[in-house]
């Protein structure tokens, strides 16, 4: 118990002192490797091996695919179509933002990328139509949390690799929970907008809708190719990701004709930086998890958790609270590496389904991207709208409450997650 306290204690101390998460994990790991003579030299082969995994390649490729599709103007065209279809109802533009985030989530793999893509179009449009700027940006950030559940999802790739759960299965399991989260947001959007008299402009004519549909068609095809390919048994998730990259590239080159060398270079560079931020955490938090497991700390943690209570319902509620708090302090990838080694024995003990547990845990961490102080989606949206974190955080409260109610439904009704994987025979 003493040792485990110090490994985690050192990690959180460094984290709170502003040291990047990857470095905090790496430093606390090598300190304990050295102190307990476990062989500090494993840092080099482990660093390499933690990154060099074929399934993890889905991460850079899905990030790149999302960035390309955004840059060739796909998010704008999707939003255009949605606007003509549902714009004028009360809170119409808010609904467009929610549906836009869900739809773009089927192309992009991370919440912040979804926030940036849809936010860049929707926040100015909503402000122009009289919506409050803090409301608009908090809404886009909250709706983008669905991206983490809607396949493709970088978070599920990492969860699948750590727990050796089928990534295709996890992708299928995330669809319905992602949609439930989107639906949960509609209620606060409707109530707040109706009170303030926020709506949209007018219904689109048939001709306009047809035109907009034709423009957005190639974008709407992307998720069909990605998911159809995976569930038709044609591609692995990594292959689907690289196919999506070339699909987006061809759409930009041949159909929208707005892809230049300059844009391609920028997209590659930006996607590489976003990937590295994730992979640095994967590499060093992976070494942290290895150290903890080798020292037997993680099992002791699991035992402590089980000593607390043997009631699965209570443990679930307790885990939800712990994960929500962890989500306020860290990103999803770090939390998987640091908490999953403790949680896996608990999952086994209660014979919970790892696929359903992955969905439940990921919903928690998705909500973590809109709960300050560390709230990646809010941070991106606040920067886009040029407003303070305090303002956007306050505006996000009703949406966070809606998402938490969705979380409870998803936690206590496992069949919502497991129905689709069962249907596809992946479970």
């Amino acid at each position: 118990m003493e040792v485990s306290f110090f490994l985690f204690g050192l990690f959180f101390l460094l984290l709170f002192l502003g040291v990047p998460i990857a470095i905090s994990a790496g430093i606390s790991a090598i300190f304990f490797l050295w102190k307990f003579n476990l062989g500090i030299q494993i840092i080099s082969p482990n660093f390499f091996a933690n990154i060099a995994k074929f399934p993890l390649l889905a991460i850079p490729f899905f990030i790149l695919a999302g960035f390309i599709m955004d840059r060739v103007g796909l998010s704008r065209r999707l939003v255009n179509l949605l606007h003509l279809l549902i714009g004028p109802v009360p809170g119409g533009l808010g609904l467009v933002a929610v549906c836009g985030c869900v739809l773009f989530g089927a192309i992009s793999g991370t919440g912040p990328a979804d926030t940036a893509a849809i936010g860049a179009v929707m926040i100015p449009a909503m402000v122009k139509r009289g919506y409050d700027i803090a409301f608009s940006s908090a809404l886009v950030a909250s709706a983008a949390t669905t991206d983490v559940l809607i396949p493709p999802s970088v978070a599920f790739v990492v969860y699948g690799v750590i727990t050796e759960t089928s990534i295709s299965g996890l992708f299928a399991a995330g669809v319905i929970p992602g949609l439930i989260m989107g639906l949960a947001l509609i209620l606060p959007v409707y109530i707040i907008s109706k009170k303030n008299g926020w709506g949209g402009d007018r219904w689109g004519t048939k001709k306009e809708i047809w035109q907009a549909f034709k423009e957005a068609f190639w974008g709407l095809m992307a998720p069909i190719i990605i998911l159809g390919g995976i569930y038709g048994g044609i591609f692995t998730p990594t292959e689907a990701a690289v196919v999506a990259v070339f699909y987006g590239f061809l759409v930009g080159l041949l159909i929208y004709r707005n892809l230049s060398w300059q844009i391609l270079y920028e997209v590659l560079k930006d996607a590489a930086v976003s990937t590295s931020v994730v992979m640095m955490v994967v590499a060093f938090a992976g070494i942290f998890a290895w150290t903890g497991s080798t020292l037997g700390i993680m099992e002791k943690g699991a035992q402590a958790l089980l000593n607390l209570s043997q009631n699965p319902f209570f443990i679930l509620l307790f885990l939800n609270i712990i994960l929500l708090i962890a989500g306020m302090l860290m990103d999803a990838i770090s939390i998987y590496y640091i908490f999953l080694p403790i949680l896996l024995p608990v999952i086994k003990y209660f014979s919970w389904d790892p696929m359903w547990f992955g969905v439940m845990m990921t919903v928690n961490l998705a909500i973590g991207t809109v709960t300050p102080p560390v709230a990646l989606n809010l941070y991106v949206a606040a920067n886009l709208a040029n407003i303070s974190m305090e303002r956007i955080s306050r505006a996000a409260i009703p949406f966070v409450l809606a998402l938490i109610s969705a979380l409870l439904i998803i936690t206590y009704f496992p069949s919502l997650s497991l129905w689709l994987p069962r249907l596809f025979g992946l479970y």
Binding site: L14, L15, F16, L17, G18, V19, P20, I21, A22, I23, G26, I27, I30, I40, Q41, I43, S44, P45, F47, F48, I51, A52, K53, F54, L56, L57, P60, F61, L64, I234, F235, T238, E239, V242, V243, V245, F246, Y265, L268, K269, A271, A272, V273, T275, S276, V277, M279, M280, V281, A283, F284, L329, M330, D331, S334, P372, P373, V374, L376
Partner: protein
């Protein structure tokens, strides 16, 4: 006579953006090789599985190169909530505290990866797929870690200057 300053400017651009260019090229190669592999497997039923080691090794390189850019742009994930509420002087201290720990971690990584490379050379370990010396891949770790350290220092100096402007 104006060529010299222009060349110097170009050289400076190259120094600052060196890893961006390399990173973009390697990333593009990763995508092209993986995509070609998908095509050959489904169209010609011929698998280029041996190229997988090339792609995952480049993945390690891209992580370090992109990581270097991210350190310069201070894009790495962290928890700055407490630090941001301290006095300017303490903030400056913690910028360098964090940078020193990061540099220390990458120095350790460089030291042990060089030892690993020396072992791979002595034992003549070859890669399992293509059969080239394994250290051709491993060499990326110490090499690009040096770059990471340079960008770490640069990033900390930029952050310090921004603080002083406030």
């Amino acid at each position: 006579m104006f060529i010299a300053p222009i060349m110097f400017e170009k050289f400076k651009w190259f120094l600052i953006h060196f890893e961006e260019t390399l990173c973009a090229i390697l990333f593009a190669l990763m995508a092209i090789v993986t995509f070609t592999n998908v095509l050959t497997r489904y169209l010609f039923h011929y698998s280029l599985a041996f190229t997988e080691e090339l792609v995952v090794s480049f993945f390690v390189w891209v992580t370090l190169l992109g990581g270097a850019i991210a350190f310069r742009e201070r894009a790495h994930l962290g928890f700055s909530f407490i630090i941001q509420r301290l006095s300017l002087k303490s903030q400056k201290f913690f910028i360098w505290f964090s940078a020193s720990l990061s540099i220390f971690l990458f120095l350790i990584l460089i030291y042990f990866s060089i030892r690993q490379i020396m072992e791979e050379i002595v034992l003549a370990i070859t890669s399992s797929g293509i059969g080239i010396p394994q250290w051709w891949y491993t060499i990326g770790v110490p090499l690009w870690s040096i770059l990471v350290i340079l960008r770490l220092i640069q990033g900390a100096r930029i952050a310090q200057r921004q603080l002083e402007k406030l």
